[in-house]
Symmetry: C2
Subunit: 332 residues, 2 copies
């Protein structure tokens, strides 16, 4: 039984490419609102669960101890484009904990944002770990480690106190076992555990409502959501999908992309969590598939609908600026 098509890519009047996948919308008590495809198969959530991974930073008191700002908390749950403000903010977080970029264990890469990468190249500089799209999360890990009075060295390893706290939060919030048998190493070197989409959606429903959380965790979740809503640029960057979505919808949608076609979201006013993965790992498909689900369930006034339309259906242009096709959820 194959997963359904979540997104199609047209050229002229022909469908050129098709993206299959699975998606689920669930409420915080586990009631399934929508389900398509195999939502029980374990998938690596990758960066889509950074907000859950960020809970210990708040709950431990580290964020308050080091006086992290709302923008810094947003960056701690981001996959940012490595633009100057992102890199500077990561460094500021590290400095608040008395550390510097030398502590980061995520590795260096050229900014994910192409314009930022070219600007950095033009300046003659080389990228550092601060430009890594995960540097905000890693700066948060370093802050957490310091607040726990643990040496940050090796904080990416499965056995380090930071990763144990992160894994504990993931298991509690999603309700799914995070098994070493289903562990992979993420792009930024921390463990990623494959769990069912259904558990990820439930985790996001809880994250969006606090339902099933103790008061401290509920406050931490609300603080992270508020930070992302107030600083959507920090969560991703220029022209990025999360930034566009949350700039438009504010606190009504908390969304987070993950590598290999994963997307998770919470729609707090509805109490819904969403999780989807495109089988083939395509981000372009995950984006329009997520927008289709948000558009299906979240009421929007007319002007919001108009602004939302390009998120649901992306226009593909060629190098002369001529429209050649679309990326969209299939009709019906």
């Amino acid at each position: 039984m194959e997963n359904p098509v979540l997104a199609e890519v047209t050229r002229g009047n022909t469908v050129e490419s098709r993206h299959r996948g699975a998606a689920i919308v669930i409420d915080a008590e586990g009631g399934v609102v929508f389900s398509a495809g195999d939502v029980e198969r374990p998938v690596f959530p990758r960066s889509a669960v950074k907000a859950i991974q960020g809970l210990p930073l708040i709950e431990s008191g580290a964020a308050d101890r080091y006086g992290l700002t709302e923008a810094e908390i947003a960056l701690a749950v981001s996959s940012h484009s490595g633009e100057p403000l992102h890199a500077e903010t990561s460094l500021a977080m590290l400095k608040k904990a008395g550390r510097d970029a030398g502590c980061l264990e995520c590795g260096a890469h050229w900014p994910m944002g192409e314009a930022a990468a070219r600007a950095l190249a033009k300046s003659g500089a080389e990228p550092s770990a601060l430009n890594n799209n995960c540097s905000g999360k890693h700066a948060g890990f370093v802050c957490l480690s310091c607040a726990l009075d643990e040496d940050p060295a090796g904080y990416v390893k499965q056995g380090h106190a930071v990763q144990q706290a992160v894994r504990g939060a993931l298991e509690e919030v999603t309700g799914a076992e995070h098994s070493s048998d289903r562990m992979g190493i993420d792009g930024c070197s921390i463990p990623s555990y494959a769990v069912p989409l259904k558990a990820l959606a439930l985790g996001f429903a809880r994250l969006g409502t606090g339902h099933g959380f103790g008061p401290e965790r509920a406050r931490a979740a609300a603080r992270i959501r508020a930070a992302a809503a107030a600083h959507p640029f920090m969560v991703a960057g220029t022209d990025r999908f999360d930034t566009r979505l949350m700039s438009l919808l504010g606190a009504r949608a908390f969304t987070k992309t993950g590598a290999e076609g994963v997307y998770c979201a919470a729609l707090p006013e509805l109490g819904y969590g969403i999780a989807l993965k495109c089988d083939d790992g395509a981000g372009r498909a995950a984006e329009v598939a997520l927008a289709a689900l948000i558009g299906r369930f979240l009421p929007m006034d007319e002007s919001t609908q108009v602004a939302f339309a390009p998120l649901r259906e992306a226009v593909l242009k060629n190098w002369n600026g001529t429209e050649v096709g679309r990326v969209r959820a299939p009709a019906g």
Copy 2:
């Protein structure tokens, strides 16, 4: 009936992503050697058919009239990375026809090769149409137009003599109708026509053998194949798959990637043509799927097999250089 998985992406010991698609291997008389998935559904070949699109450049006498070198002929059937040698060679072709880069109608984009793009940015320059991955093909179109005594202006349009010649060659070589109903606009602004994979594979079997061609076309096809085998860098660029394949296999394999997960190849000594498309348009999957088919049919000595192995199975590393997974054809 869904297409089979042509490539899978692992992380740790888990399959993280899967790419479905269709593939066919056929001989020059149309005998099917291998077939998987729906090979009758029309697909846009995109840049995979540049060698067929390049036949009129040779057959018209334009290549000889302007004294195009073997390297320039290779560039005329390339999707190059926009590296300096590619851009310079495109310009040299245009100058031989008494033209310059202002004639190019492909649009400008940053070099497809990331290192080349950053080097260009570092130099303070902006990309021109010469950096467009199709600039060699377009320079060939301008040469063809001039040799036909046609004004090159508008050479990308369906009605221009250049595109009529190209469409004619495509129809004759593949044996498939290239219908305006199945036309899309390619990234470089020329028409692309969706045709069955089976027809594309047949076209490549003919291109690799000359079988079914008149002597002039057979010579033109052989000249293009020889140019690519002698100048694999010109066909793609640094670290690119076509360049790696043809650098290793020489004239034993003529391969050409196309956007949205298409790959075509000819294995002249076997008389086989290959065409495949990943449903989702993923290039990473098309690459290993093509390598799997070449590896299945083309005999290789032991040292070639060793060098070929990384083409069949790509290692994915994270930003710290740690292996995190593989891209490969599924076992069995």
